[in-house]
Each structure stands twice: as structure tokens, then as C-alpha cells.
Amino acid sequence: MSKQVVIPFGPQHPVLPEPLHLDLVLEDEKVVDAIPTIGYVHRGLEKLVEKREYPQYVYIAERICGICSFIHGMTYCQGIEGIMNLEIPKRADYLRTIWSEYSRMHSHLLWLGLFADAMGFESLFMNAWRLREHILDDLEATTGGRVIQGSCKVGGVRRDISSEKLDEMASGLDSMQGELHDLVNVFLRDSSVRHRLKGTGILSKDDAYLQGAVGPTIRASGHSYDTRKIGYAAYGDLSFEPVVASAGDSYARCEVRAKEMFTSIDIVKQAVKKIPDGPIDMKVTGAPDGEYFARSEQPRGEVIHYIKGNGTKFLARHRVRTPTLANITPLVTILKGCELADVPIIVLSIDPCIGCAER
């Protein structure tokens, strides 16, 4: 056995958008163990639930993550609505679905860009982000916020989208599809990209399941596990199939995310066709008393909001299990046995979002 050395990786590292620290135990160039540390950006948002009234807390829940903000706010609202047994108007459900899918597309395009950047493919990064700009523009025009939308509230949504705007959004996505295809083509067909990604960081089907991977990470290992299939919001009325790949390597994770954007476009188009007319919110009175687990599918995987109310305006407990936290255990497994030079790619391939993992 050769001598072991420990190399610290992060919390500040060029490929890391957010502070994750890994102690990499190396034998020559091979990683034999990785010890993760988080805790650099803890903000104590869950505690604030005792200080802010539950309808106001939506804005804090949204700020758990800067990328999947809308879905955090929505899941929190679903939790409160679950405790209070509220049936929100159908139109609100559809609008939530549309904005969720827009968030997913913008998150995946962001990730594709960062991933290209980690590979050293700068122009691809710029192209991915240029397409993301269209998505952000639509979010801005419909919700009033580009990244933090603030359009969800307990009992429905705060803004309506006119039917002309909905049609415009659907046709905008249609015309974007061609360019998106070209972009995805580079990720999936380009020989240098394939060479870099194929076979790096393989997560086996069993490991993915046993270690509780979620989202694209588990779907890339051959499990068809997608929380949208439980049919929250309007997903129950729409037909779609989770994107699954079987190889379990970084390429498969990239493939799943790339193809999911087309599923999202399809879901938005179906939702635009089916959206019913009617009110977008309902009056909510009283305070939640009871507890609830709300689940939904973030771009990074399944998120769980646990909410416990005590009959007052202030909740007793709020706890979030974010997808990144669930994906760190499989990450450590795939890092064992890889080359040091592959570590940045592998870490980025699970799409780590430490900001929301620590809250």
C-alpha cells in the first residue's frame, strides 16, 4: 500500500458554486475515501418560523434556495394547506405547475452551464445561459421576480397569467426547442464531452437505492423515481414519463437533466391547453393545527417539508430535507475509487446546492 495523503477540497474551489468541503484521502492519484463537511452557510431559517406568521413565512421558505425557490415556497404552502384541509382552486394548481416546470428548466440550464464550465467548455456555458435568459424573462413577466418569484401563497397563487400570455409562453418554448436540441446535442454527442464524462463516477443501481439518492441522481442509475408522479398540484392530470438512464455515470446524470427539459416543455404545453378558468386563490382563515409532510420534486430531487402547527399564527416546527443532503451520501460512495482529476466533475454531477442543504 502506498502512502496516504489528505487533500482538502473546498469550501472555496473554482468549480463549486457553493461551499462544500471534502477531505479527500488519496493513494497516489486515487481517491480512497472522502469525508464531507457542511456548515458554512447555515442561516437558521427554520427557527424563524416561530417569529413570523405562517402566511409571511412563505417568503422565507422561498429563500431557502436561490434556484429552486418557487418549489420550496409551493411545498411549504402545500404543507399548510394539507394541515388545514384546504382544496385550492384548480387554476392555482395549474399555475403552480407551470411555474414549477419553468423553475426546473432554468435550474437545469444553469446546471448544464456550470457543468460545461467545470469541464472547461466556456462557450457551451455561455450558450446554455443564453437560453436560460428566455426562461427567466418569462418568469419575470409573469411573476414579477426573476429568481425569487414570490408568487405563491397559502391558499393559491398571487398572480394570474392571461390566456394570451400563456399561449405566448407555449409558443416561445416551442421556438426555443430547436436551439435547446442543438445545445443538448453538444452535451450528449460531442466527443470531448463524452470522453470526459463516460464512465466517471458510477453509482450502481443498488447503491443509488440503498443510499437514498433522489432526483436525477437516482434516475440516472436506472430507477424511475419521480415525486411528480404522486400527482401533487396539477401533475395528476398531465401525462409524462420520468426520464431514466441506466449507466449511473456522470454522462447519464447529464443526459437525464438534459432530457428532462423537454419533458418540462411538454408538461407546460399540456398545462397551457388544459388550464381551467376560475379564481386563483381562496380566503384562508384560522391557523394550522396539526402536522404534515409535504413532498415535491425539485430540479435536484425530492424535497420534504415537515410542518407542525399549534393552532396559533406561529408554527411550532418547520423542517426541510433537501435533495442535496440526500445526495451527499451517494456522492461519497462514487468518489471512492475515482481519480483526483475527476473529483470536480463528479461533485458537480449531483448538482450540489449547499445553500438549501444547510438553510
Binding site: E133, A141, T142, G145, R158, R159, L183, D190
Partner: protein
């Protein structure tokens, strides 16, 4: 395919205008619905404190006695709650940002008109106590 997958994209980019705007020479784009900053028409404000209560970040302070309405621009998250709750519609959202600042300031104080007089002044005083 493998080697030339970027070609189409590159040619398209060459024949196109740049995707970025030369800010600040050209103004930044923003949608009409964009929430940039909160505006107040102080003359319409009745100092009812509804906005202060609905604000999740406690950015607004209304002084009923001195008759001022104050906002801390750095605390405000432009959630629009105050605009929705204001009974006299004196608040609105504008689609441009607050100007950047180099030191921590951003507290703006507006004077609102005194309470319309009702019968006797003594009654007035006790009410403004709150």
C-alpha cells in the same frame, strides 16, 4: 457528429447580435410586472399601519404621532404585501431597482398629512396614542 456538434451553434451566434446589453450605456431591460422598488404617495397615506403589520421583513415603520412613514430599502424584499394590503392604494411597485449604495443607508422617511380633525382635539390625542 462527434467533433462538429458545436458548428451549427457557432454559425448561428456569428450571424446574430450579441445577447448581452452594454449596460449602463443601454438601459437594462425589465418587464412591466417586475417588482423593483416600492413607491409611496405620502399625501394619500392615512398612517393606518396596515403595511407595517403585513411586512414580513419589518422594513416599514409608521409613526402615528409624528406622522411619518419610513422604509428601510435594504430590508425590503419587494414582496408586494404592503401594496396589496394598503387600504388607500398609496403604495405601488415600480419596475426599476433602488440605486446601489456604497455604505449602509437606504432609510427613507416621508411625512404623511396629519389626521383629519374630528370634533375635539382631546379625542384625537387619545386615539393617536395606540
Amino acid at each position: 457528429m462527434g467533433l462538429f456538434s458545436m458548428t451549427k451553434m457557432v454559425f448561428r451566434s456569428v450571424s446574430r447580435k450579441p445577447a448581452t446589453l452594454m449596460y449602463p450605456v443601454r438601459p437594462a431591460k425589465s418587464a412591466a410586472a417586475f417588482r423593483g422598488r416600492i413607491l409611496i404617495e405620502p399625501l394619500k397615506c392615512i398612517a393606518c399601519r396596515k403595511c407595517e403589520k403585513s411586512c414580513p421583513t419589518q422594513a416599514i415603520t409608521v409613526d402615528v404621532k409624528v406622522r411619518t412613514w419610513q422604509i428601510d430599502r435594504l430590508r425590503c424584499i419587494i414582496c408586494n404585501c404592503c401594496v396589496e394590503d394598503c387600504p388607500t392604494n398609496c403604495l405601488s411597485t415600480e419596475n426599476i431597482y433602488t440605486n446601489p449604495m456604497t455604505v449602509r443607508e437606504g432609510i427613507e422617511i416621508y411625512t404623511v398629512p396629519p389626521k383629519p380633525e374630528r370634533k375635539k382635539e382631546t379625542v384625537d390625542n387619545s386615539k393617536t396614542e395606540e
